[in-house]
């Protein structure tokens, strides 16, 4: 009985090191990645983009003041929460193209300004300008 020696198979390339590399890279991306859900509010746009096709406003602008505590004031009245939206909507119903000017206090927080922009946008205003503070209050 003649036994044939099994042909020695060449050793396969070890894949364990490759898995190590891939795993380390995976852990790296998992640890360093932070999933952020961010959006943007335009603060400045090119003059061409904003003025194209829009007639110049002629009505008296609506002035809204943001005090240092973030309270919104319109025509001398303070508004909390979403109360400003209703008041603005009434004013804009008569003249939708009126510009809304926002005068924020320098000590007001950024969140207060963003809240004001949200409420003004909810009222249907299409023209909004923030009068910027040049340092100080």
């Amino acid at each position: 009985m003649r036994l044939r020696r099994q042909t020695r198979t060449s050793p396969a390339i070890s894949l364990v090191s490759m898995i190590d590399v891939l795993l380390i890279m995976l852990v790296f991306f998992m640890v360093t990645s932070t999933f952020l859900n961010l959006r943007m509010l335009p603060m400045a746009r090119t003059a061409e983009a904003t003025a194209a096709g829009r007639p110049a406003p002629t009505d008296t602008p609506i002035l809204i003041r943001i005090d240092a505590e973030g309270v919104l004031h319109l025509q001398g009245r303070a508004f909390a929460g979403d109360g400003l939206t209703g008041a603005l909507r009434e004013m804009l119903d008569q003249a939708p193209e009126r510009t809304v000017l926002v005068f924020p206090s320098g000590h007001a927080q950024t969140q207060a300004l963003v809240d004001a922009i949200d409420r003004i946008a909810a009222s249907g205003a299409t023209r909004l300008r923030v009068i910027r503070v040049e340092g100080g209050s």
Binding site: R39, M40, L41, M43, T110, Q111, A121, S137
Partner: protein
């Protein structure tokens, strides 16, 4: 001559499937993730119910609650910030500038920055916000 049958060896676990899984996960994270500089200080953007899609690219100016400023993840003084932005805008006039201000940052530290960056020639300056309801 009695030959003993060699004991059956269990088949080695195939690790090819594991490589596939790891590779797909890796590709997923590489595609989904976007490399973006984070601020060198704690920063929570303002929450807004509005807001447009935030494009990638551009330069990010971070403003902390205490007024500290950083450009693309590195703390910087305002004078140096404007120098670097001016140079960047010279190289790319259509450069996006993103203001990533902490929600508690006072507007006297944020709004003049917007004006100054506009003065440098930036055409698109945006404020980064977190959508309301986002985790």
């Amino acid at each position: 001559m009695k030959l003993a049958r060699p004991p059956e060896r269990a088949q080695p676990e195939t690790i090819v499937a594991l490589i596939d899984v790891v590779l797909f996960l890796l590709i997923f994270f590489m595609l989904v993730g976007r490399m973006d500089a984070t601020a060198p200080f704690e920063l929570e953007p303002a929450i807004s119910r509005n807001g447009a899609e935030l494009p990638g690219g551009g330069r990010t100016v971070s403003v902390g609650a205490d007024g500290a400023v950083a450009l693309d993840g590195a703390r910087i003084e305002r004078a140096a910030l404007f120098d670097q932005l001016a140079q960047a805008l010279t190289d790319d006039p259509d450069l996006w500038v993103r203001i990533n201000a902490d929600r508690r940052a006072e507007l006297r530290n944020v709004l003049p920055l917007v004006t100054d960056i506009e003065t440098l020639g930036a055409r698109d300056v945006v404020l980064v916000v977190t959508p309301a309801g986002a985790p």
